[in-house]
Point group: C2
Chain length 196, copies 2
């Protein structure tokens, strides 16, 4: 990595935390400059605008999520074992103490869903890609004979998304220590009702 790339990485790492804690709207070049004790003009050299900075953080979040939740799950055999691995990785991601605000996507979804612009587009596109990947993981469980034929894989992905969103609310807002267990119970029921 060149020096410039290293600096960019260090900036993005901090921006990722800042967005998780204070939201994407709070992620301004000025706030980030304060946080990093860098000049605003130095930051502008890396990111030309607040929007570009937000997009870079969303890209970083996507690549971290893909790495830790989806790619890691390829170590498990295709079908139900892999789906379970995706689920457990996702729970871990949502409860990760390194992310001060919990899942950064849940933050981004609520904040950016009604704000037209590039960040919204990038976020929606990454969510679509993720939902497709989830549905495909479920489809493999059908192909392997773990789930019933005719399982609606997109519907399964929708419901799984809901379980994770509920976990987020119970853990972050209600500070309920049973949040992850509730999510696991819900996932078990979801799996059981599709077993062949």
């Amino acid at each position: 990595m060149s020096k410039g790339e290293e600096t960019r990485e260090r900036i993005l790492d901090r921006a990722f935390l800042l967005a998780g804690r204070d939201g994407f709207d709070g992620l301004t070049i000025g706030a980030l400059a304060d946080e990093l004790k860098m000049s605003k003009s130095g930051l502008f050299a890396h990111f030309g605008s607040k929007e570009e900075l937000q997009v870079a953080v969303l890209d970083l979040a996507s690549s971290r999520f893909t790495e830790r939740v989806m790619i890691d799950a390829f170590k498990a055999p295709r079908g139900l074992p892999r789906l379970k691995r995706v689920f457990e990785n996702w729970v871990e991601w949502g409860l990760d103490a390194r992310m001060p605000g919990g899942c950064i996507f849940t933050q981004a979804h609520a904040e950016l869903d009604d704000v037209d612009g590039r960040p919204r587009e990038v976020l929606a596109e990454s969510e679509r890609v993720f939902q497709e990947a989830l549905a495909k993981t479920v489809k493999l469980a059908v192909d392997e004979g773990h789930f019933k034929k005719g399982t609606d894989c997109e519907q399964f992905a929708f419901e799984l998304e809901g379980i994770m969103k509920a976990m987020h609310m119970f853990s972050r807002l209600l500070r309920d220590r049973r949040a992850a267990d509730r999510a696991r119970t819900a996932f078990e029921r979801l799996v059981t009702s599709h077993r062949s």
Copy 2:
């Protein structure tokens, strides 16, 4: 209603829309004064601080939600019919075109969950009360013999919350027209798996 009460109501009505659209952090006395073409000092007479204004909007949201989703459902017979009515009311609430940002609570949850203070407390408390009311509605379905004995009513409420959060994301972020149908399918599955 006195003139003062009327003015307060009119202000809150607009503040409710503003918070739904721009978030609670964007709900400042200044922004609201601009929106209403009122003086900031006039607004301060009604709400002493941004925090107080946020709490008043959360209270208004709670009372509207309780009225339209929960109290309306008392018209349906206790048990499963009432639970279904709660669900349909909730879907309607979430898709209500009068709320420009969709469910205002989903907005508030993501935004306030990590910000210590009165608004967070008020929001968490109203969510706890709501989760209890939901669980009680499910419990009546057990008592009436519609659901199996031993149904975990709190778990049911958790999963129902998840379905609504997923619907919010699919409808707001992904602009997916099938969001409500997906929610209904998920609800049907949830109900079916608990039928006695």
